[in-house]
Amino acid sequence: MKLKKIEDGVYEVNIIDATDEELHEINNTMGLALSVEEMKKIRDFFREMGRNPTDLEIHAIAQGWSEHCSYKSSKPVLRKYIFGIPSEHTMIVMQDDAGVVEFDDEYAYVFKIESHNHPSAVEPYGGAATGVGGIIRDVLNMGAKPIALVDPLFFGPPDYSGKLNKGVKHPLFLINGVISGIRDYGNRVGIPTVAGITYFHEDYINNVLVNAGCLGIVKKDKIVRSAVYSTGIKLVMVGGRTGRDGIHGVNFASKILDEKSEEERQAVQLGNPILKEPLIHLVLEANERGIIHGMKDLGGGGLGSVVGEMCHAGGVGANVYLDKVLLKEGDMAPWEIWVSESQERMLLAIEDKNLQTLEKLCEKWDIEMSVIGETIEQKNLRIFWHGNKILDMPLEFITAGVEYERDYTVRRVQEMQEIPPEPNYRSVFLKLLSSYNIASKEWVIRQYDHEVQGRTVIKPMHGIVGYESHGDAAVLKPLHDSWKGIAITTVSNPHISKLNPYLGALYTVDEAVRNLVAVGAMPSSMSDGLNFGNPERPEIMGEFVETCRGLGDAARALGIPYVSGNVSFYNEAFGKNIPPTPVLMAVGIIDDIRNAITSDFKKEGNYIYTIGKTTGEMGGSEYYSMLNASSTIVPRVNVERTKLLSKQLLSAISKGLVESCHDISHGGLGVTIAEMSIGGNLGAEIDLKNMEHFRSDIKLFSESPTRWVCEVQPENAEKFESHVEGKHIGVVDGERLKVRDGERWLFNVDVATMRKIWRGSLEKYLR
């Protein structure tokens, strides 16, 4: 690699004369993570300019073109399926860092989900914490007050005893690290963590997935865009200082994990919630005063992507004086400053006349700020260092990036389903209750403050205090003087997506709807977190395409738009890829939170109904995986049914006809009823006779979609039945759960025993 020193820390890189091999060498030495084709494109560009670039210029381009910043592999697919689902209420969709949707006349809600997988695999505590920190900034930079967090997590089994690849940490270490990272960050900044997923499977031993979502609320007239629309506006950095930590995070996220990843220490940070907490106050106060022209957080790609994207979006250029950036360590090179992803930083666009107000606020909250540049007419980015211009390029070239139509293949599966011998119902049922993906997640949930801010009116755990069981969605009351509520849930079904990505995606959207409807909320919008393996492998790209097609089909038919999202590729390690893991953060609206309902049984004598049709597609079910029985036939969602039944059920709930409701998911009807019993500390007598004709184990443990269990008072039964197509299957009764199919008794278990087994399974693993 041929370099010419221009001054301390700045070099000219000879790229215009470079051979293809030399391009390869430049790419590796500089850690750019670009392809040879992309390197050639850069060479061509500078050949046309008739000069060589500085190292800073090359780093800036690499940053802008990384998968993480440019979505180069996913954009064409997302555009085809995910973007542009029409909805009346959306305000900002897939443009800025988070989606914005109308809440009421005066307010909008803002949310997004994002992944922080690679950093969490290398350093679980810091990776998870900074994941939370980053997603909070995405919501904050729209001008919104963050009011809720969610954390879908995917680990290897906690009791894994097999071999681990070099550098891979034991699931238990990762589990405790990740959960404490989220806990310590979320609790300290004072934003409640109200929902999440804790999923265990051997598929995630080499690649943990740590997704985090945040939701905020903002007055419509205070929404801030991630753009600067005029010239002469000052660019101001506030919050943390810039350091060598987090250099090359985005390139790192677009790389395959290997043994050496442990050494990529620079991509590791711990996060500083006690800087973030006052930063949130500062930004919201400045916004309240109306002095923020535009704003964006410094996340993946650092200052480089932020300045570029903000100016490009608003159609202006910028002069940036890199020596004005406040540093953690004095001897950083300009390119390091430009790409550093140090945490807790925001870039604000402020008019001159408002700088003083901002200074005052910074003083009050004890936060550092520095004016680092201003916007200019010419649509170029220019960077100065000690008075010398060391970068000058059209913004278009840096930020527009590249796109690929990657090759893909769609796997065809032979449909087959084994019929295992009929089980001992009691023991199978209890074993299911203790299986890791069904057992109580209370030990995670209670380590998170899910009530701070006083808005959480339906908590993640439902039921009599001290006896609670799982709910389907949390409900927040965002405004003090309005009864209107927001329901939040997160869903993912990799066990189904792995067998059939398209149907898995339909199922996942269906489950999001089920969960929201179960608390009485009308589904409003979703954020999609797409976690996949290496997109350069056609079969993985095929999984991605099929998943997006499914997510798109379902959401379009239901009229629920995706307003934000995130793609995490390259979840591959040691030749193993994760199964397709689309995660949805879904938001519903409930007009009056006083009509919300919970999942716990309320009163003896009440009737129990199932809503929806049970089918015998057992592929991906917890029951089959427990028995080690094979099936490739996964549940098939009929979206029209989803639409119809959720409408019926919502109308019954809003009329106060339903005492409790829980959707049927992992573990099937048996587990759903068990959870309702556990939370209400009440048994039930169930007869499966009236259900569809299947063997009893299918009736009990099938995970077919679009189903709920409802508890209804006898005096409301007739009215309820006039609203909803439901089947009466039993009554709430006594202290035991008694299940039969016609004349034949299947099992009879005491509620306390169920609770003990369900709670006991994960507790010992979580510190």
Partner: protein, 81 residues
């Protein structure tokens, strides 16, 4: 009885928010001239075994529970008591 002391700290170059925050607090309390604050944790484990086993055991513990080699450096001291 053996006493194994495992000392764990952040590696050079890893930004330490806890240390920084404590430093800031000390400054606000009027302490001047502080160049840096670092926080170190020690796990003191009393265990019934011989020194040789103890040393190995502590190494194992470090690997499995106490240390992430990406960010931490550590030190083990074993003594008979």
């Amino acid at each position: 009885m053996l006493k194994a002391t495992i000392t764990v700290k952040l590696k050079e170059g890893i930004d330490d928010p806890e240390g920084k925050s404590i430093r800031r607090s000390l400054e606000l309390l009027g302490f001047d001239g502080i160049a840096e604050v670092k926080v170190v944790k020690q796990y003191v484990i009393y265990v019934n075994c011989n020194p040789e086993e103890g040393k190995n055991m502590a190494e194992e513990m470090v690997k499995k529970l106490f240390v992430n080699p990406v960010i931490h450096s550590y030190d083990i001291r074993v003594e008979e008591i």
